[in-house]
Amino acid sequence: MVADASLFQIFMDGVFIKNFLIIQFLGLCSFVGVTKDTKSAAGMSGAVIFVMTLAATVSFLIYNFVLVPLKLEFLDLISFIVVIAALVQLVEFVVRKNVPSLYRSLGIYLPLITTNCAVLGVVLLNVLNEYSFIQSVVFGASAGLGYALVMLMMSGIRERTTLVNVPSSMRGLPHAFLIATMLSMAFVNYFGVIPL
């Protein structure tokens, strides 16, 4: 059904309509954990865009040229995880070498991209929707962009609300959850009401 979807439609799907963070609620651990300041949120988003795009590319190749010919489709989950883990490891090498301060501020969340279900979600959705190669790559990149967009919005809001006098029982995570709720409602309603 979606096999002939236009690239633009897939792009809008990835960034807004099927936004992984606040419409599909995938990968929420880093959404709450790394959005305390914009700088590390941006770094994390960059890493996720990179991993998502490459994971979509590599796993499309592996699925269609190794698993399908051998009729080993049931191995998709495990081989995708292996690919994602390797990519995350690669990103970790690069970030530690080139941006040590970002490496320290991301901390545990960088290796946790491995188990970030948003990344696996992109790859599995590609298979489920029977996207072609180009479509898969576009969906991977746009899902990463959508992730980055929401991460930057959230961290921007959270940075600005540090000046607000929040009741002590609501400070920190509860406050972040409320912001996330409102962001999510805005996205769901906007893109649910106005179909693109």
Binding site: V83, A86, Q89, R96, K97, S101, R104
Partner: protein, 265 residues
Amino acid sequence: MSLTTLIIQAMATLGGLGLVIGIMLIAASRMFKVETNPLVEEVVEILPGANCGACGYAGCADFAEKVVAEDAPLDGCPVGGFDTAKAIGAIIGQEVSESEKEYPYVRCGGGIRCVDRFDYVGIEDCTAVIMLSDGEKGCNYGCMGRGTCVRACPFGAISIDENRLPSVNKNLCTSCGLCLAACPNDILMFAKDSERVHVQCNSHDKGKAVKAVCEVGCIGCKICEKNCPEDAIKVTNFLAEIDQDKCTACGICVEKCPQNCIEMR
């Protein structure tokens, strides 16, 4: 296809995948290898780890790197103080000498004794208060008492006391200087414990204007300057300043000050 071939194929595929990716990762790890000096790790261990940035570097790890590379002074960490400097010296093989610790001193005695021009309702932050027509206080130089320094302190050493002025808990203070940088009116300054006499005012307004708004502001009357036997006090721009090198803490100025704004600790 029999079950055996299927199992063998599955194992071979996954094993091959793992092998290829493993080899690629080994190559990548060689390419992006980070040379670390083991001394840096050791120094990081003994640093306070608050990442406050008072040393002027981006966090404790950065400072440790610079110290080991001898780009930063051994006593560059004001939080750890002399003990940390000595420990760093022991690791990288250098000697350090001790210097006396400095604490923030509040150069304002106003607080509730300084009149408010209006009732402020809004963001509880000194900088925000000052942005609203120079603050609610009658005095433009004084402490706004909204706790910007309290929030700047990573160690919880500052609190706002009953006079609506910051008070520093010397047991918790680490002399990092973040509160000095945070205060929008530059009221806080570093003072050693051995420096006992201080002017508790920061106002450069003329005497009449100070007297109209604050019970304890310096009016620039020069009585202290005339009475100081050591010639240690100078009134410049309607504010008395004490030269701590000359001051002998005799207490004459404290007694003579008509505004009671000179304090002996």
